[in-house]
Assembly symmetry: C2
Homo-oligomer: 418 residues x 2
């Protein structure tokens, strides 16, 4: 009998009506002859409300207690989903992360899964239960509740699918799958039938918030194939899997935009060991998340270091860095808000030369200036002006023929973006 | 070192500001040299909201899942309270009912406490923690979450105080203590300094919703003295304890009113074994809660059986009883809504004769008709017209001199009710 793990996010269980929809889908899946494990997130908005409440109580909420507080969101959602299944005449039971056998390290609010003991789930499945597991949570060896960080329910689902040796892992969400680009930006963006873990990873870290990165990393490490699909439609979504040779036929898989970024450049930094460390340890101590870091070859013993952060952190970062700049004897600090990171991603890059050149030429023809460049093996990212961001995405989407990749049966092909 | 158990109800932790107040009180109590265990209810309104959500999902929510759902209310409240204590520089830790060692039977949504293993609480107290326990919940021997029924946090507090052999158990609530009568009805009602468990039990079951009855029964069984006091004031409340001989000097301790009652009389019932059983098993099967039952001596082989229920259930009960009345060959069913139960309670009754006569005469002088009478060893209850209820309470309060029992320093003695 096939074993299916289905994950439903907060939007999919955001109202009683939507919870009933999820319940119907679970019952149908079981009636089709599957054993069903569901992983459920807190109802949309609940986690944010709980965090807000905690912040009203304390500027620095105790992390152990924050985990207990946040875990209640998923506890409530699984209990309600079980009630909905049972109201349909189904047979379901809820499990907390702890009861599901999800053991984590002791890193409260951002714990890592150490081990999964799926014995109880197997027993309940044998008894024909639809097993509904609270996402986003586990417990330490001492039995303390932990949470897995934002988006952690994805990780719960993938990890359970791996531990249970599930036949399918389906991530239900409010989008139809993974697209070549955000359809709000590129109207002829196409849903991808499949992509490699690495591509999804690069697209996730590049601002396509389809899946939690750690969940994808976990899936890659343990070879857990999963589908990303809509909880409101029956259409198949996108399958994330090991890279196959045929995947490399496609030059680039997709385009991601990270907007509202800021760029900082420390110019005239002495090219000596330890200087970069001092700069970034100060930034890290202020909990500012640094994305891209670019350092060029030194000329005359000094170099320039550039990096990007979220625009909201710019003032804060400037305050922190001004003293550091003089301390390390750098010449000056230049900053600019309102920039965007545009990334093109594809494992095909490895076997197709000239992708960067083609991308840069395309932007050049569009009169779009490239401010920073950074690459990984399967990604090329550039920093450009925020005002050029959408047009750049449209131009590159057309340049690499992404819209024509998979002609969609349902939507007529719109004219390519100008 | 003194060990104090404090219980805070939903109103006392209803907002972030109130949670901070509770935290301040806990820290102060510890600084005064006490070991502190707090039992916390869900924030006001949360439990009702969760029940509403469950009912939107299912007309008959699975009880196991309802317990998981409802327990989240207390989980969130204890986590927030710990954060508030820690934000004040205190040292607190939260425990679920299960972690606090509260073992119950398997009766979901209305479980009974079977045993308490307070080892972990003792250890945490030795480490100078303020231990904050989720009220209203426990776990079965199999580790399933259970809840203790409405008002169950009172039971958690009293049971923990017993198991920990606490020096004091303080039930903080939104009233100043237990009064001779509801001060909204009798303006010169006085707060009682102490009363016997049995008196509080009779007053609780008679509509003075100060404490959960099962908590008082538990306290009586294990001799756990407790205080009922306001969480918003520092004034001492009312101590509930074993009856002492001096308590009997007072004829009656207090007056309770149960309003919105309905009275049903089945007239001409054959005085045979099994007839009453058939009547009330039908009522019970419809989950209608019956309060007072009165059956008088039979005359000519038939008798009348009267009982009271909540007014809202009257139509339902009538429908159920109509066929039963003819089935058992009774003459007819008389019903009346808009009646009230007035109870006078006091262990002093046992040694003072003529209490009932004095009460009936008082009502008679007021022109108030008595429709039913029922008594226990320390209580006399009468059914009267709803419209007479407040005046009856005022008359009896004055008749038995309750206002003069304990002259309050803070409030001037108002003239006795007319």
């Amino acid at each position: 009998m096939r074993l299916v793990v289905q994950k439903y996010g907060g939007t999919s269980v955001g109202t009683p009506e939507r919870i009933r929809n999820v319940a119907r889908r679970l019952v149908e899946t079981q009636r089709e002859g599957c054993r069903v494990v569901a992983v459920i997130s807190a109802m949309a908005g609940v986690t944010d409300e709980l965090i807000k409440l905690a912040r009203e109580i304390s500027a620095h909420p105790t992390e152990r207690e924050l985990d207990i507080l946040l875990a209640t969101g998923e506890h409530a959602a699984v209990a309600l989903t079980v009630m909905a299944v049972n109201a349909l005449g189904g047979r379901a039971i809820s499990l907390t992360g702890a009861q599901a056998g999800i053991l984590t390290d002791r890193n409260h609010t951002n714990a890592r899964i150490a081990n999964i003991s799926p014995k109880q789930i197997h027993e309940l499945l044998s008894d024909d239960y639809i097993v509904i597991v609270a996402g986003f949570q586990g417990q330490t060896p001492e039995g303390e509740t932990t949470t897995l960080g934002r988006g952690g329910s994805d990780l719960t689902a993938v990890a359970l699918a791996g531990a249970l040796n599930a036949d399918v892992c389906q991530i239900f969400t409010d989008v139809d799958g993974v697209f070549t680009c955000d359809p709000h930006i590129v109207t002829d963006a196409k849903k991808l039938d499949e992509l490699a873990y690495d591509e999804l990873l690069e697209m996730a870290s590049a601002g396509s918030k389809v899946m939690q990165s750690r969940a994808v990393e976990f899936a890659k490490k343990f070879g857990v194939e999963f589908q990303v699909r809509s909880s409101f439609k029956t259409s198949t979504g996108t399958i994330a899997k090991e890279a196959t040779p045929s995947m490399e036929d496609v030059v680039i898989r997709g385009i991601s935009l990270d907007r509202h970024q800021a760029k900082l450049t420390i110019a005239g930094v002495r090219d000596e060991p330890g200087v970069a460390g001092r700069i970034f340890s100060n930034v890290a101590a202020a909990h500012i998340i640094v994305d891209m870091i670019v350092q060029n070859a030194s000329i005359g013993g000094t170099t320039d270091i550039s990096f990007t952060i979220h625009e909201d952190e710019l003032e804060n970062a400037r305050k922190i860095l001004m003293p550091v700049v003089s301390e390390v004897g750098a010449k000056r600090l230049n900053t600019a808000g309102s920039v965007a990171k545009l990334s093109v991603v594809g494992i095909g890059m490895r076997s197709h030369s000239g992708v960067a050149a083609r991308m840069f030429e395309c932007l050049g023809r569009g009169g779009i200036n490239i401010q920073l460049v950074s690459t990984s093996e399967i990604k090329i990212a550039v920093i450009i002006d925020e005002k050029d961001a959408e047009r750049a995405a449209q131009l590159i989407h057309a340049e690499f023929g992404l819209a024509r990749l998979m002609p969609a049966a349902s939507t007529p092909e719109p004219p390519s973006a100008s």
